[in-house]
Symmetry: C5
Subunit: 302 residues, 5 copies
């Protein structure tokens, strides 16, 4: 283990050696292993948006093995997916890639702002996962229920020695659409995930909008003009950098925009990217080339 | 076990030998045993539509033994029913036919789009079943509850060595009536079942309608003019064919239409039919003759 | 055990020897013991309608012992009541009469069409009962909840070796008032109870009304002009006679009507009566005389 | 144990020796010990109405010890209170007075007609209680939930050897305000408590109003002109006197009215009083004098 | 242990030695150790109001270690926080400061007056806490649910030997905004917490407003003109001083106001302050100076 990774793990106090061991499996994996940076491949879009919207553009991606293999070949840090897809490659790729079992999912036809629990900690243990994943929607009418679900799952994961990754995506309730990406909202979302005991926090890259009137005063003297500074603030909100922060890439977009995101994350002190559609919705060669460049960015080589 | 069946089972990764053993019981059963094709007889219509609407046309079918015997005599792959009817022949037909305990059911008077859980995994174990069955209604307001029910039951079934069959029938919420059978919706429904860990996925045969605006782009370049192509797409959505897909026959109809369905399923690479009303709502001799022909179709003999 | 009772028990497949033993306790009890016919005394009206409306007309019936003694003296098959009244005679009448603990009850002031669970399988075991009893209201908005309650209780009862009696009373939702007693509805209600694993099914005697439009075709060729034929159809719907069917007597009425009901049940192949208000709302002597005649009717002596 | 108490206990059939033992602890306690009569001091008003409304008139009563001491000094039969107050004197008064842990409570600001569960059977065991107490509101929209709560707690109490006291207070739903105290309603409320397995039933003293139209016929020939006759009817509704009935005193009022209540209860065959505000909202000396007279009334000395 | 602390502990009857031991850990800690007075540092504002609103004014406070260190350096009695922040310093500060795991939290975007459970008693045990903390909102529509949550957690904490601290903050339902701080309401809130078994009760400092019409009579003869008298009444309502009462400081304000609050609490017999924003929203030196003075006030040195 590198000193960088050791320093990150040391910040996880009150945490069992087993959980730290699983965090180190992720942090020591692949081409970014040991750097304290990480890239996670998440493939929950099939469940969230449907298979055709997710994979038709690159039909090889209908096969769950495609994603495992992409993560392995690109030298990524971990692969995250719901039960079905994760299970579908569990034997073929056992030991090759740390996996994160995403325990809840929504879908395109949901009539409430909520997610359904689709897997269990027992499943994660059985499939040899390093961590569980869970989405909360801060602001939604159902947020208290979602929090109580992850509370129980986090406790059970902890007892099983698994790490917990929380996707914290503000939505619903009184939040405006702009507000979902606001800086104050994103920082609060990261804090909430940290407060709930997340070991790895996934949020979206924030804009410089401030959503909450009560928070304007707290932000008025800061300089939030660059994404790197906003990323740094999200880190600050995540227990002054004591937690691992990864940022999602959002919908598929041009590679330059993807690279800029990564440089911003890196320059703001973020730990890395969780990048799905921007990988598997490209031809495999292009995706590998893009991921190669992302790795180099995080290694300060680009 | 034939190489064909072995190849199918090998795709079930992260799955216990016990569950694979039960899948092989179904795949090695009857006249289609070993071919990788299967025909399942489901008799949940008594509960769903009432006994007279289901059985008056062929009164012998009021007796639960009738269906067991029909499945045995026709050389089918499995028999699926709710607790009561399954239990009613459990001793007489023990060991003669793999059974699937359908664990939830709706009825004609339901005032919500949902089903009630009517049996348990313990019941399935006690009755010597090979699998549990469960219906979800993607799109319905209650879909998250239904998902969480099957999540728990699937986990318990897995721990008991039983396979899981999911009936995935989009209904309710914002879906249009045409949308229930739309190609994009059917493929999504199959993917959802796969995502929830189903070993056998039951959907309806899809039309060429595309329901979701967001999905139009994904389908616009495809050729969906034949049912076989649409079946192949549902297979693709089921983890690129890593899961067993069976298709329901719907309401009773002419034998030619039934045979055409089977040929379409076969030609699209589907694994088989789950066919209820079209069997037991015919006189036994006609039903046996029809099933004989269906078997031959799946064996590429017709 | 008589061959008649043995033949009935043999139809309960997938059922433990313990449950069959408890069914035989009921079927071998009293003056109808061994005939395959049975009369059950149910006293849940105190809870459902209040004590004065139930017992003021015959004040001796305020005492729970009264009913136990009546069942014993009349040579009935079983006594059914909620926890309190059953417990109140449990020691005095231990071993004298098979008892059925009614596990849910409504009351006159209920503001929803539902019942509250008032006892447990553990209570039934502790009180030495032969069976549990439970009411479902098919058609009601809460039917799925009621089904899930009895599902769990039935499983627990089965594990404890107790039989399950389901009172299946269609009510609420979209059902019309006439529909509650319609033939198609009653047959469906019986089927639902059978589907849920009931060993003894209690329904009301049906009229010749057909409630469901979709079911008209199924009934149009039948002759439903006599109650006996309608009873026979309910038997048919109960797995072609594989389950025990008893019919309720309804509100207190003239003895001739009560006798006619019994003859109709007998002639239609039904197994017997569950008769409460018509017994305890009469003076004891009259009730005993009436029950004596009912026994004779079921023995084909009247 | 006196023959009178033995006779009362003998009516509790199907009840463990442990529960009977705890009932006898109450019935053999204090100055009424052995008479079959009892006076219970309940102090849940602090929680239900707030401390100042309950105790400001007699500030010594803010101290939970005050009530324990009052019950001891007055030679009462039992002391009932929610968790906090009961716990606050548990060591000082251990063994001096049978206690009843009130397991649910409402409060002045409740926005639904319901109560919250505030303690557990484990608490009652830990505090050495003789019984648990629980309020139901027959008629309320939540009555089925309340019944299911006490059902579970009663079963657990029974398994722990504790007796169950039910406060049965009709309220809400379609009941009129007058109806809450109506004779038919009070008798039904007592029956419901008995039906749920209560060992001691607490109701209010009924008026001669008949609330339910359907019950008018049952009452029309009775003479309900005196409170004693109405008390006797409530006794009748409580399994013909097989259960212990105590009656609440209601809000603080003049001593003559309190004495008259007790004479009516006694003359109607009731077992005693549960009297809170009329004791602790008087100066201690007055309260002791009043309780002394109540004891004498129940001993037929006044 | 000092006689003062021993006298306080002796009032906790029916309470295990383990719980008393944890209360004594708090009461014997820091500069107020042994005096029966205490100052608790609570840091749940990050979760409740968001990180920037809480910490931007003093950015060092983004780091959870900041608060632990502040509590240690100021010689406080205990540190209270939700799971995430508490865990983040659990190893560094193990054994240096008694901790209270706050088990529920709301947030700025909540659309109901309620809180989500975010931690467990197992977490508290694992992190070496002395107590659990929990907020109830008396008056809110969800109060019964909140009570039932703390009921279960309190029982589990008791079994684990941990003390229970209840934040009792009337809000919602029919309470007016002024009413939230009314004297009658605050006293009732304290009583409710005591009734639920709280060992330490946290309420707000009350105004002299009387909210409840029904309570006016109970207060009309009292002198509530000073805060000390109102504090004394809250103590009286807390089982006549048998429970530890701490009062919250509210939003950040001038030091003179903070000191006056403490003198009022002391003079009214209250046990101390729970003071968050007024500490960590000041520069560390100012906060330490202020806390030094507060300690002296509670020691009667100022």
């Amino acid at each position: 283990m590198t000193p960088t990774v050791k320093a990150i793990l040391d910040k996880y106090e009150g945490t069992s050696a087993a959980v730290k061991g699983n965090l180190s499996r992720i942090l020591m994996q692949g081409r970014l292993g040991g750097t304290g940076k990480l890239i996670i491949l998440p493939v929950d879009q099939g469940f969230e948006h449907g298979p055709a919207r997710s994979f038709a553009v690159n039909p090889a991606a209908y096969d769950p093995h495609y994603h495992y293999q992409l993560a392995v070949d690109a030298g990524l840090s971990a692969y995250a997916a719901p039960l079905g897809p994760l299970e579908a490659g569990a034997d073929s790729f056992a030991g090759q890639m740390p996996t994160i079992l995403k325990l809840n999912s929504s879908n395109s036809w949901a009539t409430t702002i909520d997610q359904a629990v689709t897997g269990s900690v027992k499943d994660a243990v059985r499939l040899g996962c390093a961590a569980i994943g869970f989405t909360i929607y801060p602001g939604a009418d159902k947020i208290f229920d979602m929090i109580e679900e992850i509370r129980a799952l986090r406790e059970e994961a902890e007892a099983a020695g698994l790490a917990t990754v929380i996707w914290s995506y503000p939505r619903g309730g009184d939040l405006s659409k702009d507000g979902e990406l606001a800086l104050d909202v994103g920082a609060y979302a990261a804090y909430m995930a940290a407060g709930l005991g997340a070991h790895i926090i996934k949020t979206k890259l924030p804009t410089d909008h401030i959503e909450q009137k009560d928070a304007v005063a707290a932000y008025k003297d800061g300089d939030w003009s660059t994404m790197a500074k906003r990323v740094a603030h999200v880190r600050q909100a995540s227990f002054a950098g004591r937690r691992i922060n990864v940022f999602s890439g959002g919908a598929a977009k041009g590679t330059d925009a993807v690279y800029q995101d990564a440089r911003d994350i890196r320059d703001g002190g973020g730990n890395g990217s969780i990048i799905g559609r921007n990988t598997f919705q490209r031809p495999r060669d292009e995706a590998l080339a893009m991921l190669d460049k992302l790795v180099k960015i995080y290694k300060n080589e680009e």
